[in-house]
């Protein structure tokens, strides 16, 4: 069973549209990370959020950490084909002594021209 549930599992949109992917859990996290993974490569870190209610922006990407630090969302504005990839969230549990990150299953995003 996944500690972190990501939704939707798959998302296909046209270039220029907006999209939001979600990462939810019943556990509280000390911090949460978002990664993007392209085919044949390892995940690449996009952002780390640590404070409940925190919002971070990275160009057209907006990341939000829930007030209770149990959930997060990633919003992409005016998506481009280069945004295609597997988006993974990873949460650091409060109960693990060394802050081990556990990953969600990911949301596959496809942006077509």
């Amino acid at each position: 069973t996944q500690l972190l549930e990501q939704s939707p599992q798959f998302l296909s949109i046209q270039e220029g549209e907006n999209l939001t992917v979600y990462c939810n859990s019943s556990s509280v996290f000390s911090s949460l990370q978002w990664y993007r993974q392209e085919p044949g490569e390892g995940p690449v870190l996009l952002v780390t959020v640590v404070t409940g209610g925190e919002v971070k922006k990275l160009k057209r990407l907006t990341f939000q950490f829930g007030d209770a630090r149990k959930d997060s969302s990633l919003h992409i504005t005016a998506a481009q084909p280069g945004d295609t990839g597997l988006y993974l969230c990873a949460g650091a549990s409060l109960t693990d002594s060394w802050g081990k990150f556990q990953f969600g299953a990911g949301t596959q995003v496809v942006v077509t021209p």
């Binding site: 390892g42 780390t48 993974l88 990873a90 802050g99 990150f101 299953a105």
Partner: protein
């Protein structure tokens, strides 16, 4: 351009054979992670090293898997004997100081056990 390197990139083997995967972390990084990625389970942490010492291998099947860091430039993950259910992409990642810092992932080793 510092990167984590992994060899081999692809491995096809028969059930029962030994498999060794190698990882060269980024120079200066003192944390190393091994992950396994499958469609069913997603990305799972297998082992975590800090300053070459194993700190957490609770995610690793102990009877057949072993992970070591013979020196600071090499991490290995061995499976003996391999089974079809071990088929997956195995990633190595390295970072500085603590798991809270950014982890830099290698390109992965795609393992197929027939």
């Amino acid at each position: 351009d510092a990167r984590v390197t992994q060899t081999p990139r692809h491995k096809v083997t028969e059930m029962g054979q030994e498999v060794t995967m190698r990882c060269q972390p980024i120079l200066g990084h003192n944390t190393v992670f091994w992950y396994r990625q499958t469609m069913m389970q997603g990305l799972e942490l297998l082992a975590y090293f800090r300053n070459r010492a194993p700190l957490d291998d609770s995610g690793m099947p102990k009877d057949r898997f072993s992970a070591e860091m013979p020196d600071a430039t090499l991490a290995t993950l061995k499976i003996q004997p391999s089974e079809p259910r071990d088929s997956a992409v195995y990633f190595c990642a390295s970072g500085r100081d603590s798991p809270m810092d950014e982890q830099f992932f290698g390109p992965g080793t795609r393992l197929t056990v027939l």
